[in-house]
Symmetry: C2
Subunit: 154 residues, 2 copies
C-alpha cells in the first residue's frame, strides 16, 4: 500500500491509447478526406476487400463496428458506387458485400494515404520498436472485448 497516489497520466495505458487513437485518427482522416470517405468507411472497405461476399453483420463484427452504424456506412459507400450490396440466394436475409472496381481504386488510394501517414506518425520510433509495438497491439486486440462503450475517449 503506497502512501500516496503517484500515478501520472503518462503511465495510464487507456489514456495513452485514447489520446493516440484521437491523434492518429485526426491525421489519417485528413489524409483520406480528399477521397470523400471517412476513416470508418475505409475500415469497412478494408474488411470487405479482405473477405468479399460476407454479410454486413460479419463485416461489422470483424471491423468492430456496430451493426446499426454499419448501415449508414454501407449506404454511403453504395450510393457513391464504391460497394455492392447483393442478395444472397442461399439465405435471403443476407446482403453480400463486395467492392466495385471504383471501390477497389479508392481503397487502394486510401490505403496508401493511410500507410504513408502512419509511417510518418511512427517515425519517432526505431524500426524494431515499431514492429514490437504492432505485435503487442495485435496480441492485445486478439483479447479485446467490446462490451459496449458510451463514454468519452478521454
Amino acid at each position: 500500500m503506497s502512501e500516496t497516489t503517484a500515478t501520472t497520466l503518462a503511465d495510464d495505458v487507456h489514456w495513452l491509447l485514447a489520446r493516440l487513437a484521437r491523434s492518429f485518427g485526426a491525421v489519417e482522416q485528413e489524409a483520406i478526406a480528399e477521397l470523400g470517405i471517412t476513416l470508418r468507411e475505409y475500415v469497412v472497405m478494408t474488411e470487405v476487400h479482405a473477405g468479399p461476399g460476407r454479410s454486413q453483420l460479419a463485416v461489422a463484427r470483424a471491423a468492430a463496428v456496430d451493426k446499426s452504424m454499419m448501415v449508414t456506412a454501407v449506404d454511403r459507400l453504395e450510393a457513391r458506387g464504391l460497394l455492392l450490396r447483393e442478395p444472397q440466394p442461399t439465405d435471403r436475409r443476407i446482403r453480400a458485400l463486395s467492392l466495385t472496381d471504383e471501390g477497389q481504386r479508392v481503397l487502394a488510394a486510401a490505403a496508401q494515404a493511410v500507410r504513408s501517414a502512419e509511417m510518418q506518425l511512427l517515425a519517432v520510433l526505431p524500426q524494431s520498436h515499431r514492429t514490437a509495438l504492432l505485435e503487442s497491439l495485435q496480441a492485445l486486440a486478439a483479447e479485446a472485448v467490446d462490451t459496449g462503450y458510451d463514454a468519452a475517449c478521454i
Copy 2:
C-alpha cells in the same frame, strides 16, 4: 507499387489503437463505476493531483480534455466534494484546482482499480513487452497533435 491492396485491419495502427482504447475504456469504466466517477473525471483528478493549484485550462491541456468539457467534469467533481475550485488572488480570471481529502481518497481507490484492471488487460503480454509498449506509447504521445477530431473512434 503493389498489384493489389493487401492490408488487413490488424496492420492498421489507428484501428488497433481505437479498438483497444474502447476495450480498455469499457473495462476500466466498469472498474471505477462504483466510485461514482467517470473515466474522464478520473483523468482530471489524476492531473489535478499531479499538479495542484493549476488553472482549469492548464489541467485541460495536460489531460487533452476540451476546456468546455472540462467545465462539466469540474462541476460534477466539485458538487460531489471531491475537488476545490478556488479563486486566485494574483489573477482573478483563474480558478485554481485541488483535491479535497475525500477527493484524494476516491482518486487513490480509483487509481488502484484502474491499475488492477490494466494489469489484467496487459497480462497476455510478457513483462518486457509491457514495458516496451508503455515506452513506445509514451514516445508517440509526446508527439501527439490534437487538431480536433470529430470522427468516430472506429
